[in-house]
């Protein structure tokens, strides 16, 4: 099977044997894919210099099974290099995608959201809202979209001044049963997340806590290593 050149990003790469690389990529048409880039570390390799993180690429590959072989790699237009906190944030996005997505499962809408998030990160100072909105899109895309408008128990609309208790994969409760695991969140944070308008510091920090709580059940037991880098 051969997949022609199309949009993709490198999520992760590591050296393999003397001169090759093992790649984990996120492609528009195929989702997360594992590839081997043979000879990519050689001085004269055609792939050298192209296979960079966070850079829009066009990739083509051939083969079947777990690991296909990279057969083409081109840089797809200009991009703004990330630095500082934005760069650490971008690594967080990559770690999240490799942990949450299954291989060979296309997510074209999420691909667009990833590209958008990287562009937002490149304009420094917007890291937190960009990360929260990407997390929200990620959950929607894998079928666990947040429920942000109504109390799951009473169906009453969320009121900004009240406190709610969010249950993972279910939604906010005013009065949850005692035995379920929830995280407390203000109504206005839920409303701000629904409208994708994250400006106030308090809303941002509550959104972060909420997302962390919800994502925990989708990323497995190991904590995300890129979170350690923020302090």
């Amino acid at each position: 099977m051969r997949v022609d050149l199309h949009s993709a990003f490198v999520l992760h790469q590591r050296s393999y044997r003397e001169t090759s690389l093992l790649l984990e990529i996120f492609s528009l048409r195929s989702g997360r894919v594992g590839l081997i880039a043979k000879g990519a570390n050689r001085q004269r390799s055609a792939f050298r210099g192209a296979l960079q993180f966070f850079r829009p690429l066009l990739l083509a590959w051939a083969g079947r099974g777990e690991l296909a072989t990279l057969v083409g790699a081109e840089i797809d237009g200009p991009f703004s290099a990330l630095s500082g906190r934005a760069l650490l944030s971008a690594f967080y996005l990559n770690e999240l995608l490799t942990r949450v997505l299954h291989r060979d499962d296309p997510h074209p809408a999420l691909f667009a959201a990833y590209r958008q998030a990287l562009e937002t990160l490149a304009q420094a100072g917007n890291e937190e809202p960009a990360l929260r909105l990407f997390e929200k899109r990620l959950l929607e895309d894998i079928g666990y979209g947040l429920s942000l408008r109504f109390d799951v128990d009473t169906n009453a609309p969320i009121e900004p001044e009240r406190d709610y208790y969010y249950q993972s994969d279910k939604g906010p409760w005013r009065n949850p049963p005692a035995h379920i695991d929830t995280v407390k969140v203000q109504g206005r944070t839920l409303i701000a997340l629904a409208a994708a308008l994250l400006h106030e510091p308090e809303v941002l920090s509550e959104s972060k806590r909420l997302m962390r709580f919800i994502l925990a059940s989708h990323i497995g037991g190991r904590p995300l290593a890129s979170r350690q880098l923020f302090n």
């Binding site: 210099g49 200009p78 990330l82 690594f91 350690q228 880098l229």
Partner: protein, 171 residues
């Protein structure tokens, strides 16, 4: 190589095996800079002639050797033995950040030159160490990236070229 040694050079193979054993037993990490060394404090760290106020942070022992061969640097080193790579589970403690912090808090160092690679992971590592250095109130600098000497612009890749233009300096 295995066939050659077994058929034609058994003495050589014996010497090679002994050398490897001796290296495995004798070579450890310098207790100050983490570079490979067969004595507890490596020759560079112990040297009186090197300037302790400038500390160059590199990823690997091979990088120390490269910079030493270029012979332009008179300060001391710190070797991370790797770089931050969250997706491989390599976090700050795996690259000896605690040890680096102790060194920076020791009072001798005035400037930290961050000479990690020009890759995304190298940049992330540089940013992290830069923050650590600034938190200690030290000057942190990053090595320059750009056009190699003797290089024609025409043959330089576009990322390096755009970086070189962004980091231009006054003549």
């Amino acid at each position: 190589m295995a066939f050659h040694l077994l058929q034609r050079n058994r003495d050589g193979a014996q010497r090679l095996a002994e050398a490897l054993l001796a290296a495995m037993a004798g070579v450890n990490h310098c207790e100050r800079c983490r570079n490979l060394s067969d004595i507890p404090l490596c020759a560079i760290c112990a040297s009186e002639r090197r300037d302790p106020s400038v500390l160059c942070v590199v990823e690997n022992p091979a990088d120390v050797q490269s910079i030493e061969q270029a012979a332009a640097f008179q300060g001391k080193y710190f070797v991370l033995i790797g770089r931050l790579s969250p997706l491989d589970g390599v976090g700050p403690e795996a690259i000896g950040i605690d040890k680096l912090k102790n060194l920076l808090n020791g009072g001798e160092v005035k400037e930290v030159i961050i000479a990690t690679g020009a890759t995304a992971e190298g940049e992330a590592t540089a940013h992290y160490i830069g923050e650590v250095a600034r938190a200690t109130g030290l000057r942190a600098t990053r090595i320059a990236h750009g056009i190699p000497l003797g290089g024609e612009l025409e043959y330089v890749d576009s990322t390096t070229l755009s970086h070189a233009i962004a980091c231009r300096r006054d003549l």
